[in-house]
């Protein structure tokens, strides 16, 4: 009777210790939460959230310092994704940080560019190519449309153009004609 009790107590104590150790050893990594948040953020690196980039903002969300609705490029869809990851109520995008806009990319007017390299230094993803007193060009496929190159330009030669991409398909239940294959026929 006593030996049974002792054995059970010892077993429980042992397993308790093992679990305690395991809990310490494989602690839920805050870093991995940061990574998960960072994976949802659009990586525009535009700093509209008042943090210097997407990762610092992700870190701030993880510590509870920043709210989840400060990322305009992510839009409401991004806020929803963050809310479902963190298991909190979604809220509308905080428009004081900027509005959600269709994706754009920067385009340098090469006639006006004086080659001052200020935009190259401002670009967070090194998407501008050029050298001092040489013409600069935006690498369109790498540009995130963060607009950070606009303010430093002394001659205002950078324009934002719409990024060419495939049409966003409309959901069948939201297409204009009701049933989606019911495209009314036009006869030329």
């Amino acid at each position: 009777m006593l030996s049974a009790l002792l054995t059970l107590t010892a077993l429980m104590a042992l397993s308790g210790l093992v679990l305690l150790w395991l809990g310490r050893r494989f602690q839920r990594d805050e870093d991995s939460l940061v990574e998960q948040i960072n994976a949802i953020l659009p990586q525009t690196q535009c700093a509209q959230c008042n943090y210097p980039g997407c990762r610092p903002y992700a870190e701030a969300i993880a510590t509870g310092e920043a709210d989840i609705n400060q990322c305009p490029p992510g839009g409401n869809a991004g806020v929803h994704a963050l809310a479902s990851l963190l298991n909190i109520e979604p809220k509308p995008l905080d428009e004081s940080h900027g509005e959600y806009k269709p994706p754009v990319i920067a385009l340098i007017d090469e006639q006006r560019c004086i080659g001052c390299t200020l935009c190259i230094q401002a670009c967070p993803v090194d998407a501008i190519f050029g050298a001092a007193r040489q013409m600069h060009t935006v690498i369109a496929s790498e540009c995130t449309g963060c607009e950070l190159c606009l303010p430093p330009c002394p001659v205002d030669c950078i324009d934002l153009i719409e990024r060419r991409e495939p049409d966003r398909p409309t959901r069948p239940d939201q297409s204009a004609a009701g049933a989606p294959t019911a495209i009314p026929m036009k006869v030329a």
Partner: protein, 514 residues
């Protein structure tokens, strides 16, 4: 992987539907050549969005069969002039891929003479090396005429190991479409010999022509053509049951061999190659007549067409011309569909040109389109699972896409859906399932594009951060070094000062001594 063989016994694929055929509607009149239209529009953008390399200039006079583009590889389908005329400007035109989107087309203004270049046939193609035949077919613009217009050269060439059997797909299973049936009736000999051309090009050892058991007359024509064929090559005719979507490549292979093509593989992995019968006929036209692919059979049919028939139309002819040639549309025509009623797509206009993949134009009337049927919620009846030929779970896929869980849908093998439409056909809630799957596929592709873009931006941002950090460290190191030098510099100053002192002292000593 093991090689599949086409044995005597037929097998079955899961699911499928027995549908009413409606094919005879378009087969009442003989196959008819359509005269070239005044203007032809030839798309120069392929499905990957790449623009073809043009070898003609605006204003140049061309003859029928003259190449307008150049193949840079096996995936480029060469475009040829469908008639003689003058090359017009490159115009933006409603295209068929993606449906209704603007594509770049060469405009060809016909001169009405319809002169052809004199094509050089590949005279002894039976003795030619496979690569030479494939090059020849590629330069003559051969593409899959079953509907996908996949570049035939890319399908024929490849490091597949040994191809055992070439399957000629004549199982045109979708209702209304009759272009292959009509072609096999009228050009059975060419289809059989063309099959041997493709088999030679692919290195296959036998040809199996698969047709449906309801195509009575076609079977007789083909049997006779096989008997009378002078070329000594093993060639067989197999009649398969008429179940939709039997004509799907993977379904047909499963019926013929009993083996499933792996979801991430190709028929070539099983030692099989599948080509459409019309592609075979076009291959023969190329090697024996030297004719480039500039025309195809198009079925113009449906209750909304006055005189349903099969037309041989030049590639690039506007669809409106075909409708006109078939007597025009009836007053109650409600919808123009490219392809068949099950897997076709409603077209927003009839301005699009015929392409190498245009097999059928179907016009339905108000009574068939059932536009007023309300869409009800899914009741989980499981009918869609029963009929799915690809072993998928259509209702689960629908749920995932509806809930925007596109990754989950992709994990449920959304991209293995062949969009045959069986599930939507049997759905008692009238859910437009295929439209949801098409939407889901497009949305998932965009989602992945966004993810790739974000990953690229993240990588570049991190690289920049690392570089800036490195530069900062180096700058600090340089600064530290300078500061050190400066402190070392004060020592030097002291030494100089000491030396000056010494010199002065010496001078004083010398003066006092002098």
């Amino acid at each position: 992987m093991s090689t599949a063989t086409v044995g005597e016994a037929l097998h079955a694929f899961p699911g499928g539907l027995e549908l009413r055929h409606h094919k005879q509607v378009a087969c009442q009149t003989p196959l008819r050549h359509m005269p070239p239209s005044e203007r032809h529009y030839l798309s120069i953008t392929d499905r990957q969005g790449r623009t073809a390399e043009l070898i003609v200039d605006e204003g140049q006079l061309v003859k029928r069969g003259q190449a307008l583009t150049r193949a840079r590889g096996d995936f480029d389908v060469v475009t040829h002039a469908p008639t003689s005329g003058r090359i017009g400007p490159i115009v933006q035109r409603d295209g068929l891929w993606p449906y209704g989107a603007q594509t770049e087309c060469i405009e060809l203004l016909a001169d009405g003479l319809d002169d052809s270049i004199i094509g050089e046939p590949l005279s002894d193609w039976l003795q030619e090396a496979p690569d030479r035949i494939i090059d020849f077919l590629r330069d003559h613009g051969l593409a899959g005429l079953g509907g996908a217009a996949f570049p035939s050269a890319a399908k024929l060439r490849g490091d597949w190991g040994s191809i055992q059997t070439l399957i000629l797909n004549g199982a045109e299973c979708e209702p209304w479409i009759a272009c292959d049936e009509m072609l096999m009736r009228t050009r059975a000999n060419e289809v059989v010999r063309g099959g041997i051309v493709l088999a030679r090009a692919a290195g296959a050892r036998e040809v199996v022509i698969a047709i449906e058991d309801q195509m009575g007359e076609v079977g007789q024509h083909l049997s006779r053509a096989i008997r009378e064929c002078a070329i000594d090559f093993p060639i067989r005719l197999v009649r398969v049951n008429t179940i939709y979507p039997e004509g799907g490549e993977r379904q047909l292979i499963q019926v013929l061999t009993g083996q499933e093509v792996p979801f991430d593989g190709l028929p070539q992995d099983l030692g099989l190659l599948c080509h459409n019968v019309a592609t075979a006929e076009a291959a023969l036209q190329a090697v024996e007549g030297g004719n480039a692919l500039t025309e195809r059979v198009v079925t113009v049919t449906g209750p909304g067409i006055r005189r349903p028939q099969n037309l041989i139309a030049r590639i690039g002819t506007p669809i409106s011309e075909l409708l006109k040639a078939a007597g025009g549309m009836t007053a109650d025509a409600a919808r123009l569909i490219l392809g068949g009623p099950m897997s076709g797509t409603a077209l927003p206009s009839d301005r699009m040109p015929v392409t190498k993949g245009t097999n059928c134009l179907l016009v339905l009337t108000e009574t068939q389109v059932q536009r007023d049927q309300p869409v009800m919620p899914c009741i989980n009846c499981g009918e869609c699972v029963r009929v799915c030929p690809a072993h998928l779970l259509p209702q689960q896929l629908f749920r995932m896409i509806e809930g925007e869980r596109l990754e989950a849908a992709a994990n449920l093998k959304l991209f293995d859906c062949i969009e045959c439409g069986c599930c939507a056909q049997v759905c008692p809630s009238h859910i437009p399932l295929v439209d949801w799957y098409r939407h889901g596929k497009a949305a998932r592709r965009l989602e992945q594009l966004d993810q790739r873009r974000a990953a690229l931006a993240k990588r570049r941002h991190e690289a920049r951060e690392a570089r800036l950090k490195q530069e900062r460290i180096e700058r600090d190191a340089r600064r530290e070094k300078r500061r050190q030098k400066l402190t070392e510099g004060t020592q030097a100053k002291d030494e100089i000062q000491a030396a000056i002192e010494r010199a002065k002292r010496k001078k004083r000593d010398d003066q006092s001594a002098g």
